[in-house]
Protein backbone atom coordinates (compact mmCIF):
# COMPACT_ATOMS: atom_id res chain seq x y z
CA UNK A 1 0.00 0.00 0.00
CA UNK A 2 2.71 2.37 1.07
CA UNK A 3 4.84 1.56 -1.93
CA UNK A 4 1.86 2.12 -4.17
CA UNK A 5 1.46 5.52 -2.69
CA UNK A 6 5.12 6.40 -3.23
CA UNK A 7 5.12 5.29 -6.84
CA UNK A 8 1.84 7.06 -7.41
CA UNK A 9 3.32 10.24 -6.03
CA UNK A 10 6.42 9.85 -8.16
CA UNK A 11 4.35 9.45 -11.31
CA UNK A 12 2.17 12.34 -10.28
CA UNK A 13 5.23 14.56 -9.85
CA UNK A 14 6.72 13.40 -13.13
CA UNK A 15 3.44 14.13 -14.89
CA UNK A 16 3.35 17.58 -13.33
CA UNK A 17 6.87 18.28 -14.44
CA UNK A 18 6.11 17.24 -18.01
CA UNK A 19 2.98 19.34 -18.00
CA UNK A 20 5.02 22.26 -16.73
CA UNK A 21 7.54 21.69 -19.52
CA UNK A 22 4.72 21.53 -22.03
CA UNK A 23 3.43 24.83 -20.71
CA UNK A 24 6.89 26.29 -21.27
CA UNK A 25 6.85 25.34 -24.95
CA UNK A 26 3.29 26.53 -25.28
CA UNK A 27 4.12 29.95 -23.90
CA UNK A 28 7.53 30.25 -25.42
CA UNK A 29 6.40 31.20 -28.92
CA UNK A 30 3.63 33.57 -28.03
CA UNK A 31 4.21 37.26 -27.48
CA UNK A 32 4.79 39.23 -25.45
CA UNK A 33 8.49 38.50 -25.29
CA UNK A 34 10.19 39.51 -22.08
CA UNK A 35 13.50 40.40 -23.71
CA UNK A 36 14.74 42.80 -21.04
CA UNK A 37 14.09 40.28 -18.30
CA UNK A 38 15.69 37.53 -20.38
CA UNK A 39 18.85 39.60 -20.73
CA UNK A 40 18.82 40.40 -17.02
CA UNK A 41 18.51 36.70 -16.25
CA UNK A 42 21.31 35.89 -18.69
CA UNK A 43 23.49 38.32 -16.81
CA UNK A 44 22.63 36.76 -13.46
CA UNK A 45 22.71 33.17 -14.63
CA UNK A 46 25.67 33.41 -16.97
CA UNK A 47 28.02 36.20 -16.07
CA UNK A 48 27.56 35.90 -12.33
CA UNK A 49 28.22 32.16 -12.41
CA UNK A 50 31.47 32.52 -14.29
CA UNK A 51 33.76 32.98 -11.26
CA UNK A 52 32.44 29.83 -9.60
CA UNK A 53 32.43 27.75 -12.77
CA UNK A 54 35.84 29.14 -13.72
CA UNK A 55 37.35 28.27 -10.36
CA UNK A 56 36.03 24.72 -10.31
CA UNK A 57 36.99 24.20 -13.94
CA UNK A 58 40.51 25.44 -13.29
CA UNK A 59 40.98 23.16 -10.30
CA UNK A 60 39.45 20.25 -12.20
CA UNK A 61 41.88 20.66 -15.09
CA UNK A 62 44.86 20.99 -12.79
CA UNK A 63 43.93 18.06 -10.56
CA UNK A 64 42.99 15.78 -13.44
CA UNK A 65 46.35 16.39 -15.07
CA UNK A 66 48.28 15.77 -11.87
CA UNK A 67 46.27 12.65 -11.12
CA UNK A 68 46.75 11.19 -14.59
CA UNK A 69 50.46 11.85 -14.81
CA UNK A 70 51.72 8.85 -12.76
CA UNK A 71 49.68 6.39 -14.84
CA UNK A 72 50.75 8.01 -18.08
CA UNK A 73 54.34 7.87 -16.91
CA UNK A 74 53.96 4.20 -16.06
CA UNK A 75 52.92 3.40 -19.61
CA UNK A 76 55.51 5.74 -21.02
CA UNK A 77 53.04 7.98 -22.80
CA UNK A 78 53.62 11.04 -20.69
CA UNK A 79 53.83 13.18 -23.80
CA UNK A 80 50.22 12.29 -24.54
CA UNK A 81 49.07 13.90 -21.28
CA UNK A 82 47.72 17.09 -22.90
CA UNK A 83 45.83 15.08 -25.48
CA UNK A 84 44.23 12.75 -22.93
CA UNK A 85 43.33 15.56 -20.53
CA UNK A 86 42.02 17.63 -23.43
CA UNK A 87 39.72 14.87 -24.58
CA UNK A 88 38.57 14.07 -21.05
CA UNK A 89 37.75 17.70 -20.34
CA UNK A 90 36.07 18.53 -23.62
CA UNK A 91 34.09 15.34 -23.94
CA UNK A 92 32.90 14.58 -20.46
CA UNK A 93 34.38 16.32 -17.43
CA UNK A 94 33.74 19.82 -18.73
CA UNK A 95 30.05 19.42 -19.58
CA UNK A 96 29.14 17.35 -16.56
CA UNK A 97 31.10 19.23 -13.90
CA UNK A 98 30.00 22.57 -15.29
CA UNK A 99 26.39 21.45 -15.38
CA UNK A 100 26.55 20.06 -11.84
CA UNK A 101 28.09 23.22 -10.42
CA UNK A 102 25.57 25.19 -12.42
CA UNK A 103 22.73 23.08 -11.02
CA UNK A 104 24.08 23.62 -7.52
CA UNK A 105 24.27 27.36 -7.92
CA UNK A 106 21.47 28.26 -10.30
CA UNK A 107 19.03 25.41 -9.70
CA UNK A 108 18.96 26.04 -5.98
CA UNK A 109 18.75 29.80 -6.31
CA UNK A 110 15.88 29.49 -8.79
CA UNK A 111 14.07 27.01 -6.61
CA UNK A 112 14.48 29.28 -3.61
CA UNK A 113 13.74 32.52 -5.45
CA UNK A 114 10.63 31.36 -7.22
CA UNK A 115 9.60 29.42 -4.14
CA UNK A 116 9.75 32.49 -1.95
CA UNK A 117 8.03 34.53 -4.65
CA UNK A 118 5.28 31.97 -4.69
CA UNK A 119 4.99 31.90 -0.92
CA UNK A 120 4.94 35.69 -0.54
CA UNK A 121 2.39 35.99 -3.36
CA UNK A 122 4.79 37.88 -5.62
CA UNK A 123 3.82 35.58 -8.45
CA UNK A 124 0.16 36.43 -7.93
CA UNK A 125 1.09 40.09 -7.67
CA UNK A 126 2.76 39.87 -11.04
CA UNK A 127 -0.27 38.36 -12.59
CA UNK A 128 -2.43 41.08 -11.10
CA UNK A 129 0.04 43.64 -12.48
CA UNK A 130 -0.76 42.57 -15.99
CA UNK A 131 2.19 40.25 -16.42
CA UNK A 132 2.14 36.61 -17.28
CA UNK A 133 4.34 35.36 -14.44
CA UNK A 134 5.08 32.13 -16.22
CA UNK A 135 6.52 34.03 -19.12
CA UNK A 136 8.19 36.67 -17.04
CA UNK A 137 9.71 34.27 -14.52
CA UNK A 138 9.88 30.79 -15.98
CA UNK A 139 10.35 31.25 -19.72
CA UNK A 140 13.05 33.90 -19.30
CA UNK A 141 14.90 31.85 -16.72
CA UNK A 142 14.76 28.60 -18.63
CA UNK A 143 15.86 30.35 -21.81
CA UNK A 144 18.68 32.02 -19.90
CA UNK A 145 19.96 28.75 -18.44
CA UNK A 146 19.61 27.01 -21.79
CA UNK A 147 21.66 29.60 -23.61
CA UNK A 148 24.13 30.47 -20.88
CA UNK A 149 25.28 27.00 -19.85
CA UNK A 150 26.91 26.28 -23.23
CA UNK A 151 28.74 29.60 -23.02
CA UNK A 152 29.83 28.79 -19.48
CA UNK A 153 30.90 25.37 -20.67
CA UNK A 154 33.10 26.83 -23.39
CA UNK A 155 34.76 29.28 -21.04
CA UNK A 156 35.00 26.57 -18.40
CA UNK A 157 36.71 24.28 -20.90
CA UNK A 158 39.17 27.01 -21.82
CA UNK A 159 39.97 27.71 -18.16
CA UNK A 160 40.16 24.01 -17.40
CA UNK A 161 42.63 23.46 -20.23
CA UNK A 162 44.70 26.33 -18.90
CA UNK A 163 44.67 24.65 -15.49
CA UNK A 164 45.79 21.47 -17.18
CA UNK A 165 48.58 23.37 -18.93
CA UNK A 166 49.84 24.54 -15.55
CA UNK A 167 49.47 20.99 -14.25
CA UNK A 168 51.59 19.62 -17.07
CA UNK A 169 54.24 22.20 -16.30
CA UNK A 170 54.50 21.42 -12.60
CA UNK A 171 56.67 18.38 -13.33
CA UNK A 172 57.43 18.87 -16.95
CA UNK A 173 58.27 21.55 -19.40
CA UNK A 174 55.84 22.06 -22.24
CA UNK A 175 55.46 25.33 -24.07
CA UNK A 176 51.97 26.74 -24.26
CA UNK A 177 51.97 26.42 -28.03
CA UNK A 178 53.00 22.78 -27.92
CA UNK A 179 50.41 22.02 -25.26
CA UNK A 180 47.74 23.73 -27.30
CA UNK A 181 48.73 21.93 -30.48
CA UNK A 182 48.74 18.57 -28.72
CA UNK A 183 45.29 19.20 -27.28
CA UNK A 184 43.83 20.20 -30.61
CA UNK A 185 45.60 17.58 -32.63
CA UNK A 186 43.63 14.88 -30.85
CA UNK A 187 40.30 16.65 -30.74
CA UNK A 188 37.74 16.20 -33.43
CA UNK A 189 34.34 17.72 -34.12
CA UNK A 190 32.89 14.53 -32.74
CA UNK A 191 34.40 15.41 -29.39
CA UNK A 192 33.31 19.02 -29.29
CA UNK A 193 29.89 19.11 -30.89
CA UNK A 194 28.05 16.43 -28.89
CA UNK A 195 29.42 17.94 -25.68
CA UNK A 196 28.33 21.39 -26.80
CA UNK A 197 24.87 20.24 -27.84
CA UNK A 198 24.25 18.28 -24.69
CA UNK A 199 25.09 21.30 -22.58
CA UNK A 200 21.99 22.99 -24.04
CA UNK A 201 19.92 20.13 -22.71
CA UNK A 202 21.69 20.27 -19.35
CA UNK A 203 20.99 23.99 -19.14
CA UNK A 204 17.37 23.47 -20.10
CA UNK A 205 16.97 20.73 -17.51
CA UNK A 206 18.53 22.82 -14.73
CA UNK A 207 16.34 25.82 -15.54
CA UNK A 208 13.19 23.80 -16.01
CA UNK A 209 13.54 21.82 -12.81
CA UNK A 210 14.66 24.83 -10.76
CA UNK A 211 11.65 26.80 -11.97
CA UNK A 212 9.25 23.90 -11.57
CA UNK A 213 10.34 23.28 -8.00
CA UNK A 214 10.10 26.95 -7.12
CA UNK A 215 6.91 27.63 -9.01
CA UNK A 216 5.09 24.74 -7.41
CA UNK A 217 6.57 25.34 -3.99
CA UNK A 218 4.41 24.66 -0.97
CA UNK A 219 3.47 27.36 1.46
CA UNK A 220 5.90 28.24 4.18
CA UNK A 221 9.62 28.70 4.49
CA UNK A 222 10.11 24.95 4.75
CA UNK A 223 8.54 24.60 1.33
CA UNK A 224 11.02 27.10 -0.11
CA UNK A 225 13.98 25.24 1.39
CA UNK A 226 12.80 21.89 0.15
CA UNK A 227 12.15 23.23 -3.35
CA UNK A 228 15.70 24.60 -3.51
CA UNK A 229 17.03 21.31 -2.26
CA UNK A 230 15.02 19.08 -4.56
CA UNK A 231 15.79 21.37 -7.51
CA UNK A 232 19.50 20.63 -7.05
CA UNK A 233 19.06 16.93 -6.37
CA UNK A 234 16.68 16.29 -9.25
CA UNK A 235 18.55 18.38 -11.79
CA UNK A 236 21.83 16.67 -10.85
CA UNK A 237 20.25 13.28 -11.41
CA UNK A 238 18.65 14.42 -14.65
CA UNK A 239 22.02 15.71 -15.84
CA UNK A 240 23.50 12.25 -15.40
CA UNK A 241 20.57 10.61 -17.15
CA UNK A 242 20.82 13.05 -20.04
CA UNK A 243 24.54 12.34 -20.18
CA UNK A 244 23.86 8.64 -20.40
CA UNK A 245 21.29 9.26 -23.09
CA UNK A 246 23.65 11.56 -24.98
CA UNK A 247 26.47 9.03 -25.03
CA UNK A 248 24.13 6.36 -26.33
CA UNK A 249 22.74 8.62 -29.02
CA UNK A 250 26.19 9.72 -30.18
CA UNK A 251 27.24 6.10 -30.13
CA UNK A 252 24.31 5.02 -32.27
CA UNK A 253 24.83 7.91 -34.67
CA UNK A 254 28.49 6.98 -34.95
CA UNK A 255 29.89 10.18 -33.51
CA UNK A 256 32.43 8.39 -31.35
Amino acid sequence: MNRDLASYKFLDDAGDLFRFTGRFFQQWFKPRYEIAEFIRQCYIVGYKSLPLIGLTAFIMGLVLTMQLRPSMLKYGVEFELPAIVGIAIVREIGPVITALIFAGKIGSSMGAELGSMKVTEQIDAMEVSGTNPFKFLVVTRVMATTFMLPVLLLLGDAISLYGSYLGVNIRGDTSFTLFWMQVFKNLSFNDVLPAFVKSYFFGFAVGMIGCYMGYTSNKGTEGVGSSANSAVVLSSIIIFFLDLLAVQITDVLGFN
Binding site: T120, E121, Q122, D124, S129
Partner: protein, 257 residues
Protein backbone atom coordinates in the same frame (compact mmCIF):
# COMPACT_ATOMS: atom_id res chain seq x y z
CA UNK B 1 -33.23 35.32 8.24
CA UNK B 2 -30.15 35.99 6.29
CA UNK B 3 -31.79 35.18 3.03
CA UNK B 4 -34.53 37.62 3.69
CA UNK B 5 -32.04 40.27 4.58
CA UNK B 6 -30.03 39.50 1.49
CA UNK B 7 -33.10 39.72 -0.70
CA UNK B 8 -34.11 43.06 0.72
CA UNK B 9 -30.57 44.33 0.29
CA UNK B 10 -30.55 43.28 -3.30
CA UNK B 11 -33.75 45.09 -4.01
CA UNK B 12 -32.43 48.21 -2.41
CA UNK B 13 -29.17 48.21 -4.27
CA UNK B 14 -30.38 47.51 -7.73
CA UNK B 15 -30.99 51.19 -8.28
CA UNK B 16 -27.50 52.16 -7.11
CA UNK B 17 -24.51 51.39 -9.41
CA UNK B 18 -22.90 48.14 -8.46
CA UNK B 19 -19.26 47.75 -9.41
CA UNK B 20 -18.95 44.16 -8.27
CA UNK B 21 -21.69 41.56 -8.37
CA UNK B 22 -21.01 37.97 -7.33
CA UNK B 23 -23.74 35.38 -7.87
CA UNK B 24 -23.99 31.69 -6.95
CA UNK B 25 -20.27 31.26 -6.65
CA UNK B 26 -18.95 27.73 -6.04
CA UNK B 27 -15.34 26.79 -5.55
CA UNK B 28 -13.88 23.59 -4.18
CA UNK B 29 -10.42 22.09 -3.92
CA UNK B 30 -10.83 18.36 -4.27
CA UNK B 31 -13.40 17.34 -1.67
CA UNK B 32 -12.98 20.54 0.26
CA UNK B 33 -15.88 22.81 -0.67
CA UNK B 34 -14.67 26.29 0.11
CA UNK B 35 -17.37 28.46 -1.43
CA UNK B 36 -20.94 27.25 -1.71
CA UNK B 37 -23.42 29.50 -3.46
CA UNK B 38 -21.83 32.76 -2.39
CA UNK B 39 -23.57 36.00 -3.34
CA UNK B 40 -22.37 39.57 -2.91
CA UNK B 41 -22.94 43.02 -4.36
CA UNK B 42 -20.60 45.94 -3.83
CA UNK B 43 -21.72 49.46 -4.62
CA UNK B 44 -19.59 52.21 -5.92
CA UNK B 45 -17.73 54.12 -3.23
CA UNK B 46 -18.59 51.85 -0.32
CA UNK B 47 -16.25 49.88 1.88
CA UNK B 48 -17.22 46.26 2.42
CA UNK B 49 -15.51 44.03 4.92
CA UNK B 50 -15.73 40.28 4.55
CA UNK B 51 -15.34 38.65 7.92
CA UNK B 52 -14.56 35.02 8.47
CA UNK B 53 -12.37 32.54 10.28
CA UNK B 54 -9.07 31.43 8.85
CA UNK B 55 -9.66 28.92 6.11
CA UNK B 56 -13.23 29.99 5.60
CA UNK B 57 -12.48 30.85 1.99
CA UNK B 58 -12.08 34.63 2.22
CA UNK B 59 -8.81 34.66 0.32
CA UNK B 60 -10.18 32.20 -2.21
CA UNK B 61 -13.12 34.50 -2.79
CA UNK B 62 -10.99 37.57 -3.36
CA UNK B 63 -8.63 35.65 -5.65
CA UNK B 64 -11.58 34.50 -7.70
CA UNK B 65 -12.62 38.10 -8.04
CA UNK B 66 -9.24 39.20 -9.41
CA UNK B 67 -9.07 36.16 -11.65
CA UNK B 68 -6.18 34.37 -9.95
CA UNK B 69 -8.46 31.42 -9.33
CA UNK B 70 -11.23 30.17 -11.53
CA UNK B 71 -14.54 29.42 -9.75
CA UNK B 72 -16.27 26.13 -10.44
CA UNK B 73 -19.60 27.82 -10.99
CA UNK B 74 -21.21 31.20 -10.76
CA UNK B 75 -20.60 34.67 -12.12
CA UNK B 76 -18.40 37.51 -10.96
CA UNK B 77 -19.31 40.71 -12.71
CA UNK B 78 -16.96 43.62 -12.50
CA UNK B 79 -17.47 46.74 -14.64
CA UNK B 80 -20.16 44.77 -16.45
CA UNK B 81 -17.88 41.89 -17.47
CA UNK B 82 -18.00 38.33 -16.18
CA UNK B 83 -14.47 37.63 -14.94
CA UNK B 84 -14.40 33.80 -15.35
CA UNK B 85 -15.33 34.15 -19.02
CA UNK B 86 -12.60 36.60 -19.94
CA UNK B 87 -9.45 35.67 -21.79
CA UNK B 88 -6.02 36.80 -20.71
CA UNK B 89 -5.96 40.19 -22.39
CA UNK B 90 -9.46 41.13 -21.36
CA UNK B 91 -8.78 40.17 -17.78
CA UNK B 92 -5.66 42.31 -17.80
CA UNK B 93 -7.76 45.28 -18.86
CA UNK B 94 -10.05 44.72 -15.92
CA UNK B 95 -7.09 44.28 -13.58
CA UNK B 96 -5.69 47.63 -14.64
CA UNK B 97 -8.72 49.16 -12.96
CA UNK B 98 -8.53 47.03 -9.81
CA UNK B 99 -5.97 47.22 -7.06
CA UNK B 100 -5.01 44.25 -4.92
CA UNK B 101 -3.16 44.54 -1.64
CA UNK B 102 -1.67 41.19 -0.77
CA UNK B 103 -1.57 39.83 2.71
CA UNK B 104 2.18 39.33 2.48
CA UNK B 105 2.63 42.61 0.52
CA UNK B 106 4.22 40.69 -2.36
CA UNK B 107 6.88 43.31 -2.96
CA UNK B 108 9.43 42.05 -5.49
CA UNK B 109 12.52 41.26 -3.47
CA UNK B 110 14.88 41.72 -6.38
CA UNK B 111 13.70 45.24 -7.19
CA UNK B 112 14.04 48.61 -5.49
CA UNK B 113 10.97 50.41 -4.21
CA UNK B 114 10.98 52.54 -7.34
CA UNK B 115 11.05 49.52 -9.62
CA UNK B 116 8.36 47.86 -7.55
CA UNK B 117 6.09 50.81 -8.13
CA UNK B 118 7.03 51.15 -11.77
CA UNK B 119 6.34 47.53 -12.51
CA UNK B 120 2.51 47.59 -12.73
CA UNK B 121 2.64 50.97 -14.45
CA UNK B 122 4.90 49.79 -17.21
CA UNK B 123 3.04 46.55 -17.50
CA UNK B 124 -0.48 47.91 -17.74
CA UNK B 125 0.18 51.22 -19.38
CA UNK B 126 2.77 50.51 -21.95
CA UNK B 127 2.63 53.97 -23.48
CA UNK B 128 3.85 56.09 -20.58
CA UNK B 129 6.93 58.28 -20.70
CA UNK B 130 9.69 58.10 -18.13
CA UNK B 131 8.73 61.54 -16.73
CA UNK B 132 5.14 60.49 -16.23
CA UNK B 133 6.27 57.32 -14.51
CA UNK B 134 8.61 59.23 -12.22
CA UNK B 135 6.00 61.74 -11.18
CA UNK B 136 3.42 59.03 -10.54
CA UNK B 137 5.87 57.04 -8.44
CA UNK B 138 6.65 60.12 -6.35
CA UNK B 139 2.99 60.94 -5.96
CA UNK B 140 2.10 57.44 -4.84
CA UNK B 141 4.94 57.48 -2.32
CA UNK B 142 3.78 60.87 -1.04
CA UNK B 143 0.32 59.42 -0.48
CA UNK B 144 1.78 56.84 1.89
CA UNK B 145 4.42 59.23 3.28
CA UNK B 146 7.50 57.23 2.31
CA UNK B 147 9.22 59.23 -0.43
CA UNK B 148 12.64 58.77 1.21
CA UNK B 149 12.57 55.00 0.64
CA UNK B 150 12.46 55.28 -3.14
CA UNK B 151 15.85 53.68 -3.76
CA UNK B 152 15.76 51.15 -0.96
CA UNK B 153 15.24 47.44 -1.31
CA UNK B 154 12.12 45.89 0.29
CA UNK B 155 14.24 43.88 2.71
CA UNK B 156 15.54 47.11 4.24
CA UNK B 157 12.05 48.22 5.22
CA UNK B 158 10.00 47.45 8.34
CA UNK B 159 6.73 45.52 8.12
CA UNK B 160 4.58 48.65 8.33
CA UNK B 161 6.64 50.42 5.69
CA UNK B 162 6.37 47.46 3.37
CA UNK B 163 2.62 47.43 3.78
CA UNK B 164 2.56 51.11 2.85
CA UNK B 165 4.77 50.60 -0.17
CA UNK B 166 2.51 47.75 -1.25
CA UNK B 167 -0.42 50.12 -0.85
CA UNK B 168 1.40 52.72 -2.90
CA UNK B 169 1.97 50.15 -5.61
CA UNK B 170 -1.72 49.30 -5.54
CA UNK B 171 -2.62 52.98 -5.73
CA UNK B 172 -0.34 53.93 -8.55
CA UNK B 173 -2.77 52.73 -11.20
CA UNK B 174 -5.61 54.82 -9.73
CA UNK B 175 -7.82 51.77 -9.25
CA UNK B 176 -11.56 52.07 -9.02
CA UNK B 177 -11.79 49.09 -6.69
CA UNK B 178 -9.15 48.05 -4.19
CA UNK B 179 -9.21 44.55 -2.76
CA UNK B 180 -7.43 44.28 0.57
CA UNK B 181 -6.37 40.81 1.69
CA UNK B 182 -6.05 41.02 5.48
CA UNK B 183 -4.32 44.41 5.50
CA UNK B 184 -3.58 44.48 9.23
CA UNK B 185 -2.49 40.91 9.79
CA UNK B 186 1.01 40.64 11.17
CA UNK B 187 1.22 44.30 12.18
CA UNK B 188 1.34 45.75 15.66
CA UNK B 189 -1.91 47.50 16.72
CA UNK B 190 -0.50 50.99 16.29
CA UNK B 191 0.80 50.36 12.80
CA UNK B 192 -2.44 48.57 11.98
CA UNK B 193 -4.33 51.68 13.02
CA UNK B 194 -2.12 53.81 10.81
CA UNK B 195 -2.72 51.57 7.85
CA UNK B 196 -6.46 51.60 8.39
CA UNK B 197 -6.33 55.40 8.60
CA UNK B 198 -4.40 55.47 5.37
CA UNK B 199 -6.94 53.23 3.71
CA UNK B 200 -9.76 55.55 4.75
CA UNK B 201 -7.79 58.57 3.52
CA UNK B 202 -7.17 57.01 0.16
CA UNK B 203 -10.76 55.99 -0.24
CA UNK B 204 -11.83 59.53 0.41
CA UNK B 205 -9.17 61.04 -1.81
CA UNK B 206 -9.59 58.87 -4.88
CA UNK B 207 -13.22 57.85 -4.38
CA UNK B 208 -12.44 54.17 -4.58
CA UNK B 209 -14.54 51.19 -3.64
CA UNK B 210 -12.94 48.87 -1.10
CA UNK B 211 -13.42 45.20 -0.43
CA UNK B 212 -11.52 44.28 2.70
CA UNK B 213 -10.94 40.80 4.01
CA UNK B 214 -10.19 40.76 7.67
CA UNK B 215 -10.83 39.22 11.04
CA UNK B 216 -9.37 42.19 12.89
CA UNK B 217 -12.35 43.75 14.70
CA UNK B 218 -10.57 47.07 15.03
CA UNK B 219 -10.18 47.22 11.29
CA UNK B 220 -13.76 46.22 10.72
CA UNK B 221 -15.09 48.79 13.09
CA UNK B 222 -13.25 51.72 11.59
CA UNK B 223 -13.06 50.78 7.94
CA UNK B 224 -16.37 49.18 7.14
CA UNK B 225 -19.57 50.55 5.72
CA UNK B 226 -20.95 47.04 5.51
CA UNK B 227 -19.82 43.75 6.96
CA UNK B 228 -20.40 40.34 5.45
CA UNK B 229 -19.93 37.32 7.68
CA UNK B 230 -18.63 34.37 5.73
CA UNK B 231 -19.25 31.02 7.36
CA UNK B 232 -18.97 27.59 5.73
CA UNK B 233 -18.54 29.10 2.30
CA UNK B 234 -21.77 31.00 2.48
CA UNK B 235 -22.73 34.56 3.12
CA UNK B 236 -24.07 34.06 6.63
CA UNK B 237 -25.01 37.59 7.53
CA UNK B 238 -24.82 41.12 6.16
CA UNK B 239 -25.08 44.40 8.01
CA UNK B 240 -23.20 47.34 9.46
CA UNK B 241 -20.78 46.76 12.28
CA UNK B 242 -23.28 48.00 14.82
CA UNK B 243 -26.11 45.89 13.42
CA UNK B 244 -24.08 42.72 13.51
CA UNK B 245 -22.78 43.46 16.97
CA UNK B 246 -26.36 43.41 18.20
CA UNK B 247 -27.07 40.15 16.35
CA UNK B 248 -28.52 37.17 18.25
CA UNK B 249 -27.00 34.64 15.88
CA UNK B 250 -24.53 32.64 17.97
CA UNK B 251 -22.18 32.20 15.02
CA UNK B 252 -22.09 35.91 14.36
CA UNK B 253 -21.88 36.70 18.05
CA UNK B 254 -18.83 34.53 18.24
CA UNK B 255 -16.88 37.05 16.14
CA UNK B 256 -17.84 40.06 18.18
CA UNK B 257 -16.99 38.73 21.61
Amino acid sequence: MTEVQQATNKDQTMSITSVLVIRHLYKSFGKNHVLIDFNLEVHKGESVVILGKSGSGKSVLIKCVIGLLKPDQGTIEMFGQNIPDLDHEEIDQVRARVGFLFQSNALYDSMTVRNNLEFPLRRHWIKVTQEEVNSMVIEALEDVGLTHTIDMMPEELSGGMRKRIALARTLILRPEIILYDEPTTGLDPITAKEIIGLMREIQAKYDTTSVIISHDMNCIRTASDRVIVLIDGKCHAIGTYEELKQSDDPKVKHFFE
